[in-house]
Amino acid sequence: MDFLIHHLLRNSAARYPDKEALVHGTRRLTYREVADGCASVASGLRAAGMQRGDRVGIYLDPSVEQVLSIFSVSQAGGVYVPINSVLVPDQVAHIARDCGMKALITTPDKLEMLLPALHDVSSLQFFVITSKSNGHAPTDIKVDSTPVHRFEEMLRSPVEGSLPDWGISLDLAAILYTSGSTGKPKGVMLSHANVMAGSTIVSTYLEISQRDRILAVLPFSFDAGMNQLMTAFQQAATIVLIKFVFAKEIIDALLSEHITGLAGVPTVWSLLANGGILKHGFPELRYVTNTGGAMPQAVLKVLREALPTTKIFLMYGLTEAFRSTYLPPEELDRRPTSMGKAIPDTEILVLNERGARCQPAEVGELVHRGPTVSMGYWGNPEATDRVLKPSPLLPPELGDCEKVCYSGDLVKMDEDGFLYYVGRRDTMIKSSGYRISPTEVEEVLFQTGRIRQAAAIGIPDEVLGQTIKAFIVAKDGTPLDCDAILDFCVERMPRHMVPKRLEIMNELPKTSSGKVDYPALRRREGL
């Protein structure tokens, strides 16, 4: 019986040992090779001191080692914490501190860059480093007293029989860090059961089978990206990893790797639509899925022209509930702006302020009920209680044994039950598929020491969904140099968080209680 994430791999390896499982550049691994590699690394992790439930960070670019790490940590009985490789050291350190990270798997170069930021993370007991990109083993990483293990050596760890499992499906499997409307990123806790349910549900409606070859362009730190990997291994499909800058690189991979499935965020589709997708035929591409924001209608038009035989699925999900809705491709003509209906085995409610169901066309909050509702935020029960609550629609006799997820997304439903996105209930910004908290951006602006007040808002953008505009007020009326402030920002946050525009003001608009009046700033921008 499959009830833990690595069982998906074990099962597929038993059924299709010689089938191609994982491709990255010139490296091609069969299911047997992936399963054997994971068993060895899992055994190596346990030998290094890993205990049940330990959190292990994975800070790697798309690579064979990254995929092996995810399943190895599960097999070793731990919790994997995938970290987007675009994050800067301070953000990685926040995640490590917040989740009490015991071990971190990364490259020698990245570790060197991270060490100054990690010095006060006392939970870290060991590092695992992969080979350098040139294939040379790392030599001289100096880490005070923290042991550094080599991934290559772990791959050679002896495995006697099968490693006994320590956990059950209700145990924590992964923590995905994501931002809300305030504060630093929070860790969304997913159980093995959550991840497996997401994988089963999505592979059902996408009809994924062992004949599929899936191209992974989304990071595995992103719920949809991770789900792609899980569905692939669950169904014994092949997953191909790439890192890209140019649309051509994706197009070349689609063609040369005979890709049948591709998941993207709106920016990926915009790149492809502007990058020559119309010049090629993709008869093998069976389906594509969009998530992480609405697909611009102009881009959708190009995609439909370029991919006449490909099924296009518009999806919606939030990390706290993993995956929520999809629009069946046959509805695309009639409702191209809809986010669809609930995924299988899931109920999506649109509730008004009183907790009652909205009428058609009435705007309310999207509330998700189903097996992918996460376990909440790691170490933050107050924030969890604001998002995961007992369902107001269930009979009180049931008690609050089941929680539903309040998304914070405002939506409306048409007469036929199809959903349409309206906006956010709070100030959270979404750009290029990333959730960004205004306070995180504002905090970095304050760190310049030159700013008295700051407020960041999202400005609609055709390609990115939103871009960030920040309003700043100088300390003591000293003149501000916007270029210098942006220079400061780029070192302390990844590109998607850096404001696109700065506007200097004498004073920010305030509410009667003295807080920054964000709606007034949005109105100022005509929003």
């Binding site: 502007n274 220079d487 920002c489 070192e491």
Partner: protein, 103 residues
């Protein structure tokens, strides 16, 4: 270091150097990380993450407008965009009187 080809066909101004400085100015102004790292004209901007996939699109829009060239998606390759020198050479090749006469 020696930069591109020195062609004196616009009022005696070296077109390569002119293209380099115009592109450089745009890169430094548009990509704060380039400014912060004080990138050289020969530094790889793609591998270092200074310019990502969306940054390339901004560059394309700039080059088309600034130099009046039409850039097709076949031209969107790392060879043409990896550093400021390559971008300048690429634009210059498009400005050649005989199209396709790339040295």
């Amino acid at each position: 270091m020696a930069i591109g080809k020195a062609k004196n066909w616009v009022n005696g101004v070296s077109e390569s150097n002119d293209a380099i400085s115009r592109i450089r100015e745009f890169v430094l102004q548009k990509f704060p990380l380039a400014r912060k790292r004080k990138v050289e004209n020969s530094d790889n901007l793609l591998e270092s993450g200074v310019i990502d996939s969306l940054g390339v699109l901004e560059l394309v829009a700039f080059l088309q407008q600034e130099f009046g060239v039409a850039i097709s998606d076949d031209d969107l390759t790392p060879e043409n965009f990896k550093n400021i020198e390559c971008m300048a050479q690429f634009v210059e090749s498009m400005l050649e009187p005989q199209p396709g006469a790339i040295e």
